[in-house]
Amino acid sequence: MNSELPSIIESLIFTAESALPVDRLCELLGEFERDQIKLALAELVAHYQERAGGFDLVEVAGGWQFRTRPVFHGYITRHIKTRMSKFSQSALETLAIIAYRQPITRAEVEHLRGVDCGGVLKTLLEKHLVRILGKKDIPGRPLIYGTSKEFLEVFGLKDLKSLPTLKEIQALDAVPQYERQEELQLEPDKVIQVENQLPLE
């Protein structure tokens, strides 16, 4: 095996605009065998994992990319503005429904959430996290939606299969966890008390 191959691959991944799929690597490096390339890649991944430096070599959206390790984000945001604002609960819910149930229509999302989702859907489309897949072959031909490559990139997922399964999520819930929502008192006169105490159970 060419001893420089890992370095060549490293330089290609380093300079790529987005995550570099193995297929494209093989295309770019036509003079090497696919097996050689995969072996060299594995070597690189092992190196970065062991070293645990400022960044890692990770697989996202079907490709390989260097990304900083999450523990350092507090330092990085001192000079880089965070692009992503925190997602609202409704955005996350809608995104989850689309991710797990795609292809899905707006009406189906709204039936599951019990609320109008037009605004949220538009925002997700504008952020390129969700995309229009086409139209459904039913009367009215409604648009159908699915998640995009950017969704995988932003959430650091290798592919849709690497989403936690709903079963796994349910198992998480079985473990008692603190109520994420603070108590809401419905009797107006008691409201004030609650607001002042705010004890989390």
Binding site: T68, P70, L92, A96, E126, E195
Partner: protein, 269 residues
Amino acid sequence: MTAEAHHHREEHLPLLDGFHEQYSVHLDKFDGPMDLLLHLIKKNELDICDISIAVITRQYLEFIKLMKELNLEVAGDFLVMAATLLQIKSRQLLPRDDQEEPEEEEADPRAELVRRLLEYQQYKEAGMVIGARALLGREVFARTESEPILKAAQNVEGPLEVSLFELVDAFRVLLQRIPVESFHDVAPGDSLSIADCINEILSLLQEQDTVQFDELVRDELTRERVIVTFLAILELCRLKLIRIFQGSEFGQIWFVPAVAKDSAEVDLP
């Protein structure tokens, strides 16, 4: 919340003076009726599969009442759920008619709601799990600087990166910019299938000099197909792109390109 709304509320609810901000934050936490229902179920320590509709309905309605007292806009979705709850409640309370439908198992009127709640809860939790990940651009960063040797290079080929939404949105923005009268006939609904058909006919005419109507509908002789094809031909004729011929009455319809293709030269700079 607007300043006026805030003011208005203060006049009417001196009781909650000074606590509006926090309170509205709480109200905003509910992402719709399903979310509110789940909260009420948890708060009452009920099992989703065996909820007391009476208790939940009462608290749900109280909540909406409170939202109204606080002059918060109650979204239609919340009212739809209120109606659903009241309907389930009344169905539960109806005397069971044994004579009429003895063969049918007595269905629990709550079943559909329970199923929806369980499913909603699943996605709500999935959303939280997804949201807890380290996100690119927030907790995790990729390299932004491009390599100097690549910076200079122009690229002509390569896969295109654009979404359908961007395309429609570009069209939408354009329409906002230009005067309405020049764009009065924006393709409504299915007329785009006429565009498909026009595209098809013009492609055929690039390969052969003449096309018969029959040729176009032969593979798919449906009412819709015939009508769409006919409309496409009329449109092509109107646009002066084709000429139509008919040999005899009720005879075969032929069409040819309006302009012979050998005189085709590109009119681009």
